[in-house]
């Protein structure tokens, strides 16, 4: 029987690399910021939640845009952009896609930047209420290593990487008695946001089955 877990902390992120870096497009950031600001007006953005970044490496400069009520953040830089949303569940997928689409469309329209590879990922902290988190992780500890000491293993981590996919399994550094799972995939520029969402959902279902966990009803 699957172990019931709560997910008190999670995030989804999408990093989009541009076909090629475009520094010129960032010469006049004000037009870009205004355009994204207007596009997100349905979600009540505030001027003070926009943070221009003009220090660090050129790839780290640009602007951050946050919607605190939705726990959404956008970063737009000259080489890539990044979107995150915290504590979103699948019931919020439609809204998340709408915010993402609005922000990205406005940015592309003004900057004329073309998007390349997209890396999408979800991180979840799985907190069992009735057992130690190591019960979830224990099956993934190599027995050869576990037998090196008499005492039980306290925590462990596994990172598995393929050409276009990566899975990280670890103890949680954020929550008491919780495991951390992150699954990421690389998508082509031609894949739609809906395709990406569908694939991530399948990945989550597959991994939860492998881990033997099921999300408890709130």
């Amino acid at each position: 029987m699957a172990e019931l877990v709560r997910i008190p902390n999670s995030f989804v992120e999408l990093v989009i690399a541009y076909s090629r870096p475009d520094i010129r497009a960032f010469n006049d950031r004000a037009i870009m910021v205004q355009s994204v600001f207007d596009a997100l007006s349905a979600w009540s953005p505030k001027l003070d939640d926009i943070e221009p970044l003009s220090t660090g490496k050129l790839s780290e400069q640009g602007f951050n845009f946050k919607l605190p009520l939705k726990q959404v953040s956008f970063f737009f830089g000259p080489a890539s952009c990044r979107f995150t949303r915290d504590n979103a569940d699948w019931g919020m997928a439609e809204e998340t896609l709408a915010i993402l689409d609005a922000g990205l469309s406005a940015f592309v329209e003004v900057s004329h930047i073309s998007f390349g590879l997209r890396t999408a990922g979800i991180g979840v902290h799985l907190q069992p209420s009735d057992c130690p988190f190591m019960k979830i992780l224990a099956p993934f500890v190599p027995p050869q290593l576990a037998s090196l000491e008499m005492e039980p293993v306290k925590t462990m981590a596994v990172v598995v990487r393929w050409g276009k996919r990566k899975i990280t399994l670890d103890g949680s550094a954020v929550l008491a008695n919780a495991a951390f799972l992150k699954f990421e995939r690389e998508f082509e520029g031609t894949d739609s946001l809906e395709d990406i969402t569908r694939q991530l959902r399948l990945d989550e279902e597959q991994l939860f089955r492998i881990l033997g966990v099921e999300e408890a009803e709130a």
């Binding site: 902390n9 995150t84 915290d86 981590a157 990172v159 103890g171 949680s172 929550l175 008491a176 951390f180």
Partner: protein, 171 residues
């Protein structure tokens, strides 16, 4: 407890989401306890006592968020915001909980799992329970709790003014 050094969050620090009603209740309560200062007295340096107030508020909020995050690393919290709201209303308790962590681990074991829950006492006052989830024998946890109480907690319990109780739950 993690083993691999990788960022496990989005990197954003969101302020706690508080419903407008809760905010209003909290404001009313604090206005009741601390009536507004009307005379805006001058500080010795010439500035008003409200100078840098916003900056200080932001700093305090960030510090408080960090404390809450640290508590979440050691104690399981309920789905609802009851514990967070309790800790916000009783600002002395979070630091006491953090102080208790190494002692809890000493008496109940480094791998013991702890959780927090809020209960309403008879006359309507709230009490925070820090609960050790104990998979072993009841006599062992009772003995550990007794030693924890006698050797560490009872000397400090007065500071919590009855708002914090350490107990156990058999699992």
């Amino acid at each position: 407890m993690n083993a691999y050094q990788e960022c496990q969050t989005s990197g954003n620090q969101w302020p706690p989401l508080v419903s407008p009603m809760l905010l209003e209740e909290s404001r009313s309560a604090s206005e009741h306890k601390f009536p507004p200062i009307l005379d805006c007295r001058r500080a010795p340096q010439g500035g008003t006592i409200f100078d840098d107030l916003e900056k200080r508020m932001v700093r305090y909020a960030a510090e408080y968020r960090a404390v809450l995050q640290e508590i979440q690393r050691h104690f399981m919290m309920p789905v609802d915001s009851s514990v967070t709201a309790f800790l916000t209303d009783n600002r002395a308790i979070p630091s006491m909980l953090l102080e208790a962590i190494p002692h809890l681990k000493t008496y109940f074991g480094a791998d013991a799992v702890f959780s927090l829950r809020v209960s309403i006492d008879g006359p309507g006052s709230h009490i925070l329970y820090a609960v050790v989830k104990w998979p072993g024998k009841v006599c062992d946890v009772r003995s550990a709790l007794q030693r924890f109480d006698h050797e560490w907690w009872l000397r400090r319990a007065g500071q919590a003014a009855g708002f914090l109780t350490f107990t156990y739950e058999l699992v």
